[in-house]
């Protein structure tokens, strides 16, 4: 049977009762958009949490530390060994120091902060994106202890220093007394450096605890021999397990953010099922409505079906006529439901962002629409409609033309 005619025929049959068809499709739209809205919200929150944890391409990073070992040291020699492992692309280090900080010239009491000597790459891998200003500037290899150079600070420190506008902090100078713990300092004793003047060049967003970051090259002059931690970038996600074992064989402890994310994914998977379930209930109610519409439509058109059979239409083609009608409703419900769901999410996101901005927060996307998810929702809505239409269509094929003729 001519497919073009089949679709036209199905369309005409649906338009015969416009209000009924509109209501049926509307119910589908509500069901589909509920799924899109709720699950996209779960996806959005999951993405935000994942980004908060990983800060980017953390699935290819391994965290390396010494645990509580007094024997194993993370120094240039061991870093070179890790770097030489087959799947390791790059190794970046961080040294945990401490410092007392105050704004230059301030008479107030200095603040105790964590002071990190690290690299721009390490910060990037840790999800510490520059929020205001810029990252580390290259500094002279012969930098003196009194000229340690530029630092990046976090917003928690700015709050402690009473700086409310992060942008205004860039260019400000800090007075710092840096303490190098004995575990890191080469001579086996802690060392307090002379007071240094530091220039804030960048700010990262982090409200947890006051931190200051400096390019670790600036600390070389201070005889720092040992690093607190390192991160190794691995060539692919599949090589993570092997690389972790190789690093652990060198005596180090490793951690992998993927372990944490797997738990996050598990929790959000459950969250998505619950939210999707609410949407699914709406879709089930909608498909019951569609079932009702198609059944009533069949009862109204029994004579027509009998006529088509008398004219010689095959059962398979009668099935196609009715399934085409449910297919059209499923298609329209799917497309319009997805569009409506996205519009609803966008409006909600806009309202939430406005509220966040008014409360001093930053705008963000709390909804996320992965392409595969949207395609799945569309296919699901069409399949649901087809399944719903299957029984009325089957009943149509069983109409006994003779009974209709006799009744008439």
């Amino acid at each position: 049977m001519d497919r073009g005619f089949l679709l036209k025929f199905a369309g005409k049959n649906l338009s015969r009762h416009r209000l009924r068809t509109t209501l049926t499709v509307s119910a589908m739209v509500i069901g589909v958009s509920a799924i899109v809205f709720l699950v996209a919200f779960a996806f959005g929150i999951e993405r935000l949490v994942s980004q908060e944890i990983t800060g980017g391409n953390a699935f290819e990073l391994v965290d390396i530390g010494t645990g509580n070992s007094q024997i194993i040291k993370l120094n240039d020699e061991s870093v070179a060994k890790i770097r030489s492992l087959g799947n390791v692309k790059q190794v970046e280090v961080i040294s945990n120091l401490a410092a007392k900080i105050k704004t230059e010239g301030s008479t107030s009491e200095p603040i105790d902060v964590s002071f990190f000597g690290t690299t721009a790459e390490y910060m990037n891998w840790s999800g510490l994106q520059i929020y205001k200003g810029k990252g580390f500037e290259p500094t002279s290899p012969n930098a003196s202890s009194a000229d340690l150079g530029n630092v990046v600070v976090n917003t928690a420190l700015l709050s402690k220093l009473g700086i409310t506008d992060p942008a205004s902090a860039v260019g400000k100078t800090l007075s710092a007394q840096i303490i190098i713990p004995k575990e890191i300092y080469g001579n086996g004793e802690a060392k307090a450096l002379e007071e240094n003047i530091l220039v804030i060049t960048g700010v990262v967003k982090d409200e947890a605890a006051p931190n200051v970051y400096i390019n670790y090259k600036n600390l070389v002059a201070e005889n720092i021999k040992v690093y607190s931690q390192a991160k190794a970038s691995v060539s692919s996600r599949t090589a993570i397990d092997t690389t972790r074992k190789e690093i652990e064989n060198l005596g180090f402890k490793t951690e992998y953010v993927g372990d944490t994310l797997a738990q996050v994914e598990q929790i959000f998977g459950f969250f998505k099922i619950i939210l999707g379930g609410f949407g699914l209930i709406a879709l089930i109610v909608a498909s019951l409505g569609m079932f009702n519409t198609l059944t009533i439509s069949l009862l109204e058109r029994t004579k027509e079906v009998a006529l088509l059979k008398i004219l010689g239409m095959k059962r398979r083609d009668i099935l196609k006529v009715f399934l085409s009608e449910s297919l059209i409703m499923g298609f329209l419900g799917g497309v319009m439901g997805i569009v409506f769901g996205i519009i609803l999410s966008t409006i909600t996101n806009y309202v939430l962002n406005n509220m966040a901005i008014k409360s001093g927060g930053d705008p963000t996307n709390v909804f996320y629409f992965p392409g595969w998810f949207m395609a799945t929702v569309f296919v699901f809505s069409v399949l649901t409609a087809l399944l719903t239409g299957l029984y009325p269509a089957y009943r149509a094929t069983r109409v006994n033309a003779l009974d209709v003729l006799r009744y008439e």
């Binding site: 001519d2 005619f5 015969r16 004219l311 010689g312 239409m313 095959k314 059962r315």
Partner: protein
């Protein structure tokens, strides 16, 4: 397409019986019908209500299965075919005009007339072109773009004749086609059927209980209580 010759037996019916069981009672609707319908005949089947005319037609259409006996259309026992096979046979060999015309109400008259061809697998465009030719031949092209519910009874019946012949069938079966028409409308439909027989050499089976049409065919049979009681051929 093979055209049935005048001397050819188009429909052969042997000892056809049909019983209906209603409660504890068995109703003998057909009690042994033997009949040969020749190609290009205009057969008028006459009889009172309940004499078995419609039952006989339903069996010829392949819609109802006989209790006993055989029916062959062009030497083929149609009840050896599946449901869909009999549907195909109807779509190719038989055009049907009902007393109360059935329509697909959402389609125009022209689309309805083209329906048997679309069912046979033609593209809508070709089917519509052929349907347009037929409505022109029958002089009802002004009805083409209307919807069936907008037509009078007589117009619907004439459009019904167009739908019956659009697929160029061997046989046109008309079951009380004038039952709901006024005399003018009825005469127009009868003239159409008569012309189909005379000009297009179609085999016509007209079922009626109206004695006015007794003389119009080339052959008439009279039925009573499930039997043929008279079979008269005119020239």
């Amino acid at each position: 397409m093979h055209k049935a010759e005048k001397s050819e037996v188009l429909i052969g019916i042997e000892n056809l019986k049909k019983d209906f069981v209603v409660g504890n009672e068995t109703i003998h609707a057909l009690r042994g019908i033997d009949l040969e319908i020749m190609a290009q005949e205009f057969l008028v089947i006459f009889g009172p209500s309940g004499c078995g005319k419609s039952t006989l037609l339903n069996i010829i259409l392949g819609l109802d299965r006989p209790t006993h006996g055989k029916i062959r259309i062009s030497d083929r026992d149609i009840f050896t075919l599946s449901d869909d096979g009999r549907g195909l046979y109807r779509s190719r060999k038989i055009g049907m005009v009902h007393q109360m015309p059935y329509w697909v109400k959402t389609l125009t008259v022209l689309e309805n007339i083209a329906m048997p061809l679309i069912i046979r697998g033609l593209k809508q465009k070709s089917a519509t072109e052929r349907a347009r030719q037929v409505v022109i031949e029958l002089g009802i092209e002004e009805l083409s773009d209307h919807y069936p519910t907008q037509l009078s009874g007589g117009q619907q019946q004439r459009a019904g004749v167009a739908r019956a012949i659009v697929a160029d069938p061997w046989i046109v079966i008309a079951d009380e086609p004038t039952g709901n028409l006024d005399s003018k409308g009825a005469q127009e439909v009868i003239n159409m059927l008569s012309n189909l027989n005379k000009l297009q050499k179609k085999t016509i089976i007209l079922v009626t209980h109206n004695e006015d049409y007794w003389e119009i065919g080339t052959r008439r049979i009279e039925m009573k209580d499930g039997k043929i009681i008279r079979d008269i051929k005119h020239g």
